[in-house]
């Protein structure tokens, strides 16, 4: 069964459906959270929170607005970003981080390669963006910086960063060709 149908069953309190859903989404959720949060123990914690939240609030899922996977990953991303920002705020109070950002081509691949093909495709497409598009998108999405912070780090005006983000995502879409 697909994640969409499962999530609808989960909303009705179906624990068996949740077990199946876990099999489908725990990998993507964990991978994303770990990419953003970095710290393994905290990543596990956030992943568990997200999966439990998916169980609790499954009734809010509206199949008319997108897939179950997007719904859960959007939730996961928001929680991961919240976590990394509050951790960062704590660190920043003590030591102001350097403003440097070095941008090798996008190559931060973690060890377990699960979604091999998709990962390779996304990596290749990210590398086709201009450096500023790629940095704007990845600093925000994978590193959890706000667009103001991104602008500051890249020494760019706010408007430019917003445009780079939009252009970057749109170009990524064309490169990925909409194949799910």
């Amino acid at each position: 069964m697909e994640a969409d149908e499962l999530l609808v069953l989960v909303a009705g309190g179906d624990q068996k459906a949740f077990e199946q859903l876990y099999g489908l989404v725990s990998g993507p959720v964990f991978g994303l959270v770990r990419r953003v949060v970095r710290d393994p123990a905290q990543s596990e914690e956030v992943t568990q929170e997200v999966l439990l939240e998916a169980w609790r609030s499954a009734a809010r899922f509206d199949p008319g607005r997108g897939s179950a996977l997007s719904w859960i990953l959007t939730l996961a991303h928001r929680r991961a970003v919240d976590r990394v920002r509050s951790a960062r705020a704590a660190v920043d109070r003590e030591q102001r981080e350097g403003r440097r950002y070095h941008d090798p081509a996008f190559d931060q691949v973690s060890e377990e390669v699960e979604a091999g093909l998709e990962r390779e495709l996304v990596r290749r497409c990210l590398n086709r963006l201009t450096a500023l598009q790629r940095q704007s998108v990845t600093l925000a999405y994978y590193d959890g910086y706000t667009y103001r912070e991104v602008a500051e780090r890249l020494s760019l005006p706010l408007g430019t960063v917003k445009t780079r983000m939009r252009d970057g995502l749109t170009r990524l879409r064309h490169c990925l060709g909409g194949a799910a």
Partner: protein, 273 residues
């Protein structure tokens, strides 16, 4: 402040779609933008597309979680109650006759055949229409698995939510062959429950897809009908003028690919302004 100030600010808000899709707004900004989204159809469309792009970024990072997590999460699920999704459903029994609750068939409607009549004739009274719609909901309960019943329970909750709205209204239309479409809707809750009756026979690989029609806007898919199971549509704004059902290939289409088999105006249920 310059006279262009307000203009610039408005422009500015549109441009936040990408940072929003990337979760790159600060909390205050996020709230303001979400408020703006409720009024800005163009932004909503853009945000949805950009968010799908962001999800591709997410998906590419998939990695198996530690094996022990599974047991922990499943155990937690067993003792964690679920939200109803919204404010608790107000328990107000709808004022509907007994056949509505499945113990009796819906009242028959005799019609003298006419030479020509519009495809759909709206019902005179909301109660009659609601009765028909709700009868459609409960006529299909037999022979369902537990999972299906659970899904239906969720749906029943949605339906109860719509029914309990102070401005709930209903309408239905029937064609010459006795097939009908019914709608119970609340403009204030922006929700509607839609049932199809008598349209079940479709060739394999074909489905009935429901569309929301608005002036000067592409039809928006509200979902696929599965047999007689009603559809719950949320987020309907007042500009919605009508509903249409088309026959589409399995899985549905992004836009209608055939003429509607049935269309129903929403004016009488408080939409179409």
């Amino acid at each position: 402040m310059s006279v262009l100030g307000p203009l610039f600010r408005r422009e500015d808000r549109h441009s936040l779609a990408a940072p929003y899709a990337l979760d790159a707004l600060e909390p205050d900004e996020r709230r303001r933008f979400e408020k703006h989204l409720q009024k800005c159809g163009r932004c909503t469309v853009e945000v949805r597309a950009l968010s799908e792009d962001a999800v591709r970024l997410a998906w590419s990072q998939a990695a198996p979680p530690p094996a022990a997590m599974r047991e922990r999460v499943l155990a937690a699920v067993q003792r964690t109650p679920q939200e109803l999704g919204r404010a608790p459903v107000r328990e107000r029994a709808p004022q509907l006759p007994p056949h509505v609750w499945g113990t009796e068939p819906p009242p028959g409607r005799s019609r003298a055949p006419r030479a020509r009549r519009p495809l759909f004739v709206p019902f005179a009274t909301a109660t009659a229409a609601a009765a028909l719609v709700v009868a459609g909901l409960f006529a299909v309960q037999a022979n369902r698995t537990q999972d299906q019943l659970d899904a239906q329970r969720t749906q029943a909750r949605e339906i109860a939510h719509v029914l309990a709205a102070p401005d709930v209204r209903a309408t239905t239309g029937t064609d010459e062959r006795g097939r009908s479409i019914g709608v119970i809707a609340s403009a204030s809750e922006k929700e509607a429950v839609i049932t199809l009756t008598g349209y079940a026979d479709l060739p394999t690989g074909r489905v009935h897809q429901l569309w929301l029609m608005r002036p000067n806007v592409q039809p928006r898919s509200l979902g696929l009908f599965e047999g007689d199971t009603p559809l719950v549509a949320t987020g309907l704004d007042r500009t919605a003028t009508s509903l249409a059902v088309t026959v589409e290939p399995d899985g549905g289409s992004a836009q209608p690919t055939s003429q509607p088999v049935v269309q129903l105006t929403l004016k009488s249920v408080g939409f179409g302004e």
